[in-house]
C-alpha cells in the first residue's frame, strides 16, 4: 500500500469512528438545546407559553395594519373598515359579493405558484363561505393552526414553521418588499448584483478577446517563441 493510500485509509477510519460516536454524543447533549429539542413541540403545535413570544425568525414579515388598529366592526359601516383580518366573515357587508370572483378584487393574490403551477383554486386553502379573516381566532387560516388545517392537507407533517412559507409572495424586486419581507428583498438584490457583475465583467471581456484573436490571426496571435 502506498503512502497516500494509507493516509486515505486512516482518514476513512477516523471518519467512521466519528460517525459512530456521534450517536453517543447526541444522547448526552442538553435537552434544552435551542436548535434541536426545545422548539419541537412549539413548532409543531404553534402554541407558545405565555411568557414566550413567537420566535423572531418566524416573523420575517412586517405586515402593515391600515386603518384604526384592531377595530372589529359589526356595525353598518363595517365595509369601510379596512383591517378585516379579525372578522369571522372577512367579506362581511361587501356589496354584490356573491356576484364577484376572488381575482376581481385580489388580482395579485391570484398570481402565485400554488395557483399557476399546482392548479389550486383559492377555496382549496381559504375554504368556503364565510371566509374568516386570518386573525379570527377560530379561523383555519389562523397561524396557530394553519399548518395543520391548511398546509398539511397536501404537505403531510407540515409544522408551524412550514406554514410561514409565503404563498402570496411579494415581488422581491420592489422597494415595497423591503418593508414587508426584507430578507427576500436583500437576498434577491444581492444575487442579482452578483449575476449582473459577472456579465458586466465577462461579456465585454470575452467579446474583446474574440475580436482580438480574430483580427490577429491564428499564427500571429501570440508572441512567437523561438526557444521552443
Amino acid at each position: 500500500m502506498t503512502g497516500s493510500g494509507k493516509r486515505v485509509l486512516a482518514c476513512l477510519v477516523v471518519m467512521a469512528i466519528m460517525w459512530i460516536l456521534a450517536a453517543q454524543a447526541r444522547a448526552q447533549d442538553e435537552a434544552a438545546s435551542h436548535l434541536l429539542r426545545y422548539r419541537d413541540r412549539e413548532a409543531s403545535t404553534g402554541y407558545y407559553e405565555e411568557y414566550e413570544v413567537m420566535p423572531r425568525h418566524l416573523r420575517a414579515f412586517i405586515e402593515p395594519r391600515p386603518g384604526p388598529a384592531d377595530v372589529v366592526g359589526y356595525s353598518p359601516n363595517a365595509p369601510t373598515i379596512r383591517d378585516r383580518t379579525r372578522l369571522a366573515d372577512s367579506h362581511y357587508g361587501i356589496r354584490f359579493y356573491d356576484r364577484r370572483r376572488c381575482e376581481t378584487c385580489h388580482p395579485e393574490e391570484a398570481r402565485n405558484l400554488h395557483t399557476t403551477r399546482a392548479n389550486l383554486t383559492c377555496r382549496q386553502c381559504h375554504g368556503g363561505e364565510p371566509i374568516p379573516g386570518s386573525r379570527y381566532y377560530y379561523a383555519p387560516m389562523n397561524p396557530i393552526r394553519r399548518h395543520a388545517y391548511i398546509c398539511a392537507k397536501c404537505h403531510q407533517g407540515a409544522n408551524a414553521s412550514f406554514a410561514t412559507y409565503r404563498v402570496h409572495e411579494p415581488n422581491p424586486a420592489l422597494l415595497s418588499t423591503q418593508a414587508t419581507f426584507p430578507v427576500l428583498f436583500w437576498v434577491f438584490w444581492i444575487m442579482i448584483v452578483i449575476a449582473a457583475g459577472t456579465f458586466l465583467l465577462f461579456l465585454p471581456h470575452t467579446a474583446l478577446w474574440g475580436i482580438r484573436e480574430l483580427l490577429a490571426g491564428k499564427k500571429g496571435t501570440h508572441r512567437e517563441r523561438e526557444d521552443q
Binding site: 486515505v8 418566524l58 402565485n112 412550514f162 459577472t198 478577446w209 501570440h222
Partner: protein, 291 residues
C-alpha cells in the same frame, strides 16, 4: 488510457504516420467528471427551465420530453442528488491529489486552481493585449478564466445544492430553517441557476468553441490532449515548466484516432446545441411566466 495517449516519446505513429503534435492536459478521471457534470447540467437546465416556464408552450414541450411536469421534478431531484454526490466525490478527489508535502505553499503555486495575485496581473495584461498595448501574457497551466470557471462551478454547486435540498424536502427543511426560508431559497436557486446557465451557454461556449484559438471546439476535455502549437503560444509558461521538470516528453501525444475525434465533436456539439436551444428558449419564454 488508450494507446495513442500512452506514447512516451515524440515518435511517429506507425499506423497513421502522425507526429506527436498534442500535449496531454486532462486525465481520464477529470474528463469523466467533466462529462458527467456536463450531462447533469443539461438535464437540470432542461427540467428546471421546463418546470419554470410550464405556463408557455415551450415549457410544456420541455416537460413532455421528461414525461411531464411531475416526472420532470422527480428527474431534477434525482440528478441533483447525483450531482451533490459527484461534488462530495470531487472533495475526496481533492484530498487525494493535493500534494500534502508542500501544503499549503503549493496552493499558490502554478499547478493550483487557487487564485493568486499573478492571475489578477495576467487579467490586466490580457486586457492590455486586447487593445494592442501589451504583449500577450505567458499563461501557465491554468488561465485566470479557467480558475474563474472552476470556482464558479464550485460555489454554484454549493449554493444550488443547499437551496435545492431545502426545496426538495420542504417539510423536513422547515424544521431547520423557518418556512419563509423556502421563499428565499427558491429565488436563490432560480437566479443562481440562470446565472450558471447563461455563463456556460454564452461565455464558456465562446471560450471553448468560438474564439479562434479553439474554433470549432477545444477537444481538451473530451480527448485529454491539446494542440502543442497553439498551447505553445497561449500557455508557454506551463510547457517551459514541464520541460524544466523533465516531464514534457512523457506528456506528448499523437493526434487521436478519427473515431475518438468524431465522438468528441459529436458530444461537444450536441451539448452546445442543447445549451443554445435552452438559452434561446429561456430568453423568449421567461418574460412570459409567473415568477
Amino acid at each position: 488510457m488508450s494507446s495513442w495517449q500512452e506514447r512516451k516519446a515524440p515518435t511517429v505513429n506507425a499506423k497513421t504516420n502522425d507526429e506527436a503534435t498534442r500535449v496531454r492536459r486532462f486525465t481520464p478521471l477529470q474528463r469523466f467528471f467533466h462529462g458527467g457534470l456536463l450531462a447533469a447540467f443539461i438535464v437540470q437546465g432542461a427540467t428546471g427551465l421546463g418546470r419554470m416556464s410550464v405556463e408557455t408552450g415551450w415549457g410544456k414541450g420541455l416537460c413532455r420530453l421528461f414525461g411531464g411536469y411531475e416526472s420532470a421534478l422527480v428527474l431534477h431531484k434525482i440528478v441533483g442528488i447525483l450531482m451533490i454526490a459527484g461534488f462530495l466525490i470531487h472533495m475526496v478527489y481533492l484530498l487525494v491529489v493535493i500534494d500534502w508535502r508542500r501544503f499549503p505553499r503549493m496552493l499558490l503555486g502554478p499547478d493550483s486552481l487557487v487564485p493568486s495575485p499573478r492571475d489578477a496581473r495576467q487579467f490586466f495584461e490580457h486586457l492590455g493585449w486586447f487593445f494592442g498595448v501589451r504583449p500577450h501574457p505567458e499563461f501557465d497551466r491554468w488561465g485566470y478564466w479557467e480558475k474563474f470557471d472552476y470556482w464558479a462551478v464550485f460555489w454554484g454547486m454549493v449554493i444550488l445544492g443547499i437551496s435545492g435540498l431545502l426545496l426538495a424536502f420542504p417539510v423536513a427543511s422547515s424544521r431547520m430553517v423557518p418556512g419563509w426560508g423556502l421563499n428565499v431559497a427558491l429565488w436563490v436557486h432560480r437566479i443562481e441557476a440562470l446565472l450558471a446557465m447563461a455563463h456556460v451557454f454564452i461565455i464558456h461556449f465562446f471560450v471553448a468553441h468560438v474564439r479562434r484559438h479553439s474554433f470549432p471546439m477545444d477537444r481538451a476535455m473530451f480527448e485529454g490532449t491539446v494542440d502543442l502549437e497553439s498551447t505553445r503560444r497561449e500557455k508557454p509558461a506551463w510547457l517551459a515548466r514541464l520541460k524544466e521538470a523533465g516531464r514534457f516528453e512523457e506528456r506528448l501525444a499523437t493526434e487521436a484516432p478519427p473515431f475518438v475525434r468524431a465522438a468528441s465533436y459529436l458530444f461537444g456539439f450536441v451539448a452546445m446545441a442543447a445549451g443554445i436551444a435552452l438559452l434561446v428558449g429561456a430568453v423568449i419564454n421567461l418574460p412570459r411566466i409567473t415568477w
